[in-house]
Amino acid sequence: MADTDVGGLLRQLAPQVLGAVVRRYGHFDTAEDAVQEALIAAATRWPNDGVPENPRAWLVTVAARRLTDLLRSEQARQRRENAVARRMLPEEWLAPPADRPASESDDSLILLFMCCHPSLSPASQIALTLRAVGGLTTAEVARAFLVPEATMTRRISRAKQTIKDSGIPFAMPSASERATRLRAVLHVLYLIFNEGYASTSGPGLHRSELAAEAIRLARMVHQLLPDDGEASGLLALMLLTDARRPARVGTDGELIPMAEQDRSLWNAGSIAEGVALITDALPEGPTGPYQLQAAIAAIHDEAPSAEATDWPQIVGLYELLMLISANPVVALNHAVAVAMARGPQAGLDLLNTLQADERIAEDHRLHSVRAHLLEMAGDRAAARESYLAAARRATNLSRQRYLHTQAARLTSDR
């Protein structure tokens, strides 16, 4: 079996193994280290020795053995653990009822809920999710976020300490908490995806793997909770956005806006899957922000060109989105859609209102959009000024280069 196949198998098994070990022995923080060591052992041995007949059982056994060693060598820690165990409520000592055995999928979901616990900072939620559920090594997580490995090691151990200190039991959140906690999980996956997708420069390769990892985890959540509309919506949104990746960057690494992308390069398989997911999810229950964003992405992905896009429908979807999650970036996208549907002046009017929102007034994106709409309206001089204003506010060199090229285009040709 090739190295990459072993890697894929290990990452798929990681949350199941950790879930099984924690369920059986407790000690989430130490168990997580033990499982990580078992995964590393497998990654070095399996490519040579072959994959064992029951890889999951192999990993659970090795991790459990390692956990025993770690716990023995940390007597002081064990005493503290015992103190915590004594504080547990009697009902928490009970094993799960025999008529409903815990499944591997329950374990993966519980782990996700733990890693995205609201007592952790977003940076810690992301790091812990990628390591404990995604099965990435600390070095891989560190590389993806461009921080030194020592920083990431501390971030992960602090996160585990917080979980330990807060005494969160390894159990499904209560029914009343579940919706809020699931939103936190989806948000973490969304952040991981954006971190990978938004990066265009530097060591881009490692970063794009983050987008793939986010899709893999979102797919897992969707499979665990097939009836949750927002879990489906998030997976659809990721697939429909990621489908445009091959057309998004030019040969010299420059960004290409959607209107100018070669749509034949878009990934038809991802688009079909994303459209099917959102089509199934939309009629079910209340419509959340991920479903709306996925629906917008689907309209873009299915349009043969920017002009032939169903802009009035996109305007309507953005208006729904603004009702449930008002933020200036959504309002900016809404202004673009309005301009496409009703002409540039209607969009520019909305931008003038938006300019008063100080969260976005100094953002290069507001000025880029204004430049684009002014150009559509035929005001080349003002458009050029706005492109330059946007370039001054952008810190990313690739983006600055794009904006300067746009400004230069309005100076030279006629």
């Binding site: 030194p148 420069s201 530097g202 060591p203 040969t251 010299d252 690494g253 420059e254 370039a391 001054r392 810190t395 060199l397 600055q400 280069r401 300067h404 090229t405 400004a407 230069a408 100076t411």
Partner: protein, 137 residues
């Protein structure tokens, strides 16, 4: 032993790099891509030899903030540098066997492609002090 390699650029250099009109010799898309490719392979070689600790590029000086204490009160100024003043643009921290080896690494930076007349760049190589005991030696 760890060393820090520092490179410098002025706001004008950054403007040229970002394709801003009216500045120094503007970089074409090809120039820019060639520089990116050089840096990627330069960093990859250092990472593979195990000598790279970390490297960063810094955004243009116009995005800098300077803190100055006036009578004990911190005053923040935005982008305080003159157009032509060269300021820190990026750095590498390398962990290697000798000062000469660190210098040799910095010398390799001179093969970074770019428009011929771009500038006459400067780099510094400085040993890193790891602890207070080293300072007292």
């Amino acid at each position: 032993m760890k060393y820090m390699i520092l490179t410098y650029a002025s706001q004008q250099d950054y403007d040229a790099l970002s394709g801003k009109p009216g500045g120094n010799v503007a970089w074409s898309a090809e120039d820019f891509a060639a520089m990116g490719a050089f840096m990627e392979s330069f960093n990859k070689q250092l990472a593979e030899s195990g000598e790279l600790v970390e490297t960063r590029g810094l955004a243009a000086p116009v995005h800098a903030r300077r803190l100055q204490w006036q009578n004990g009160v911190p005053v923040v100024t935005d982008g305080p540098y003159a157009e032509t003043q060269e300021v820190l643009a990026g750095y590498w921290i390398v962990d290697c066997e000798s000062f000469d080896r660190a210098t040799a690494i910095a010398v390799r930076l001179s093969s970074c492609p770019g428009p011929a007349a771009a500038s006459s760049p400067v780099a510094d190589v400085r040993p890193i002090i790891e602890s207070q005991t080293e300072l007292e030696l």
